[in-house]
């Protein structure tokens, strides 16, 4: 029904505004038909990349290729892309069906054909019966669907989404995630999704690029990104992390031992750090456990500070000097409620990742 997705290649693309470099030289390939997210804090350059792909910005250097075609000099109205704006940018004075059919109107499709096609898309996004309403009379989720239908109407090979879910409340957002993923699967269009919400990126994407300060720090599948972050920034931006600092004291068999204020800790040495290097050890809160006689590679003792009940799990925060340690416990009934005072917590060396010391994501 809809043209298959195309791949998008950024070949040495950079963007400079005056003396501000929004995007440093970047090579990136987004595969045809994949759900690809660009994740990063606000101001990291992700929207700039999106605008270069959609054609609203011409890159300062490098080329943007869509389906192998160089897009230089081709305006946004002639690219095989469609953009869903953060605020959706529906046309408030047109009824829903005219909104959806606008792209076809611009292509000179006759009114009856337009209407027919718009109704198909309205069915696809489950809005049948709302076609004569104005966008202002719809709920947030319905407006969202209108925006998706309007973008799909022009049969784009690449759909660009600029944080379109950020204005929705939590429940609706979770629902729309599933719906977006579903539409992507049904249509086979390449989705490029921009977000600062790592949860959103993890649940929907096939692959994610994490950006910071105009630079792509890592591009990987969601699992790799979560378990094997390449930099301290990625490690702390995606999900929660406990961080221990120190110097590499020993390296052997892909593992490294770090000596620091928290004692000696062993973890996977993925970036082949040499002895003496400044390093950080990252451990996910759900990989840490309280020692009930169990033997683990690494042990840290800390004082219980506070307990947050999240529902299915419990976050326990412990203090050790300046360092805050977070432990997730599965809530199998009042988990961790009676824990007090100094506790010994541990984690396996395979669950700990040693990376060169660097910039962390700010909360």
């Amino acid at each position: 029904m809809i043209a298959k997705g195309k791949n998008v290649v950024l070949d040495g693309v950079s963007m400079v505004f005056g003396d501000f470099t929004a995007v440093q030289e970047t090579d990136l390939e987004i595969r045809a038909g994949e759900f690809f997210s660009i994740l990063g804090p606000s101001g990291c350059g992700k929207t700039t990349i999106l605008r270069m792909i959609s054609g609203f910005l011409e890159p300062t250097t490098g080329r943007v290729l869509i389906g192998g075609d160089d897009m230089a000099g081709i305006g946004p109205n002639r690219r095989p892309t469609a953009l869903i704006f953060q605020n959706l940018a529906l046309f408030p004075l047109m009824p829903v069906w005219e909104n959806v059919a606008f792209g076809l109107e611009a292509r000179g499709v006759s009114k009856s054909k337009r209407r027919e096609r718009a109704m198909e898309l309205i069915d696809l996004v489950a809005l049948r019966g709302q076609e004569e309403k104005l966008p202002g009379d719809l709920s947030g989720g319905q407006r969202q669907r209108v925006a998706i239908a309007r973008a799909l109407a022009v049969e784009p090979a690449v759909l660009l989404l600029d944080e379109p879910l950020s204005a929705l409340d939590l429940k609706l957002r979770q629902h729309m995630r599933a719906e977006l993923k579903d539409i992507q699967r049904k249509t086979g269009v390449t989705f490029i999704y921009i977000t600062h919400d790592q949860g959103e990126a993890l649940t929907m994407s096939d692959r994610i690029a994490v950006m910071n300060q105009g630079r792509v720090e890592q591009v990987d599948t969601t699992d790799v990104l979560y378990d094997d972050p390449a930099t301290p920034f990625v490690a702390t931006f995606v999900g929660e992390q406990n961080v221990f600092r120190g110097k590499v004291a020993e390296v052997a068999d892909g593992f490294a031992v770090i000596e620091g204020p928290d004692g000696s800790l062993r973890g996977r040495n993925r970036s082949s750090l040499a002895r003496g290097a400044e390093a950080m050890v990252f451990v996910r809160p759900e990989r840490m456990q309280f020692l009930n006689g169990a033997a683990l590679d690494n042990v840290v003792s800390a004082n219980v500070d506070r307990r947050d009940l999240e529902g299915p799990f419990v976050n326990l925060f412990l203090k050790r000097d300046d360092n805050e340690i977070m432990v997730h416990l599965t809530n199998s009934g009042a988990a961790g409620r009676d824990l007090e005072g100094e506790q010994r917590i541990g984690f396996a060396a395979t669950d700990a990742l040693v990376l060169p010391a660097g910039e962390l994501a700010r909360d």
């Binding site: 109205n77 605020n87 940018a89 529906l90 606008f102």
Partner: protein, 344 residues
């Protein structure tokens, strides 16, 4: 009202109400009522009376001359005659000062064919000025509101406002100097060899209504630009980008997205420009200096100050007002905007 009292207290609320009422009565109701009342009556025979009085004064002068010049005249008899005539004059003058008012609609129905032609032409010209101003102002308003960077927009706005620091008459005179027979434009055309001022070969710009149009568009440009600018400024730029992204060429983006959004502003701009140009006196007066036909405002002026017939003048002015009000409703109908949209 209660909300006002709660927010501002009795004294301030009373002051607000008083000022508003005073404004409505003093600035709107009384002057209009006065004009309407004027337009509904005529003074009976007043011209004949004054003619009679003039004649009698002449008679007196003649008699006085006789009394002085002729030696053998019966002076007391003449004096007697004079005093009698003076009595008569006093009587007539008293009559003239309290003229007989006759209420009638004749001021409205009596418009001559020529005046009616001027009236219709003025309405058409004012409509043309409005359309011209709209064509000129929409791109300016769009550029300032949507395209320009903040600094450039501020600069453009300043450029638009600065001429308004000068009196309207002077601005019109500036255009007079540009379009005059030996004005700037004809001089420049001489350089290209189109005109020859020494041989009186020039293009008589001022004799065409176009000269008035140009000066009017210039004089009232802000009244069109500002309302359109105000509405376009609230247009989400993403909507323009969305339209572009969906493949629309520039004209369609304007036709389907920007202009529908700006409709209330366009309606307000058109209403203001139309009212100002339909009622403009100074611009046609200065620009044409009688070389091309009157505008209706000039005809009204002549009724008041040349024919000295305030009643017909008031009737003409009221007719123009009615047409302008009809125009407002027409605009609201055409642009499908309500009073609320316009008041915004």
């Amino acid at each position: 009202m209660n909300a006002l009292v709660r927010t501002y207290g009795r004294t301030l609320t009373g002051l607000f109400v008083f000022l508003t009422t005073a404004w409505v009565i003093g600035m709107i109701v009384i002057p209009q009522l006065f004009m309407v009342e004027r337009s509904l009556w005529v003074r009976q025979e007043s011209t004949q009376l004054s003619l009679q009085i003039d004649r009698l004064y002449n008679d007196i002068s003649l008699l006085r001359f006789d009394a002085q010049a002729a030696p053998d005249i019966d002076k007391p008899a003449v004096e007697n005659k004079i005093s009698k005539i003076e009595e008569q004059i006093a009587e007539l003058e008293a009559q003239e000062k309290t003229p007989q008012k006759v209420y009638t609609l004749s001021n409205y129905t009596r418009m001559s064919g020529l005046h009616f032609k001027i009236f219709v032409r003025t309405i058409i010209y004012a409509a043309m000025v409005t359309v011209l101003a709209l064509i000129v102002c929409y791109p300016i308003a769009f550029a300032v509101a949507q395209v320009a960077t903040p600094q450039a927009a501020a600069f453009l706005m300043l450029g638009l406002i600065v001429p308004y620091a000068i009196n309207e008459l002077l601005r019109v005179y500036a255009w007079l100097m540009i379009l005059d027979y030996q004005g700037v434009l004809n001089t420049m055309l001489q350089w290209v060899g189109v005109t020859n001022l020494a041989k009186h070969e020039w293009i008589p710009f001022l004799e065409s209504p176009g000269a008035v149009f140009v000066a009017m568009v210039y004089a009232y440009i802000l009244f069109m630009v500002f309302p359109i600018y105000n509405t376009l400024e609230t247009l989400d730029r993403n909507q323009l980008e969305a339209a572009r992204d969906l493949g629309a060429p520039t004209w369609r983006i304007h036709w389907r997205v920007a202009i529908p959004h700006a409709k209330p502003g366009i309606a307000v701009g058109c209403i203001m420009t139309f009212m100002l140009s339909a009622g403009s006196y100074a611009v046609p007066q200065i620009m044409t200096r009688g070389t091309s036909g009157d505008w209706f405002s000039q005809t009204i002026y002549r009724q008041f100050f040349e024919s000295n017939n305030w009643n017909v003048g008031a009737a003409y002015a009221f007719t123009l007002l009615i047409v302008c009000i009809v125009f407002i409703f027409l605009m609201m109908l055409v642009f499908r905007v309500g009073v609320r949209d316009i008041a915004r």
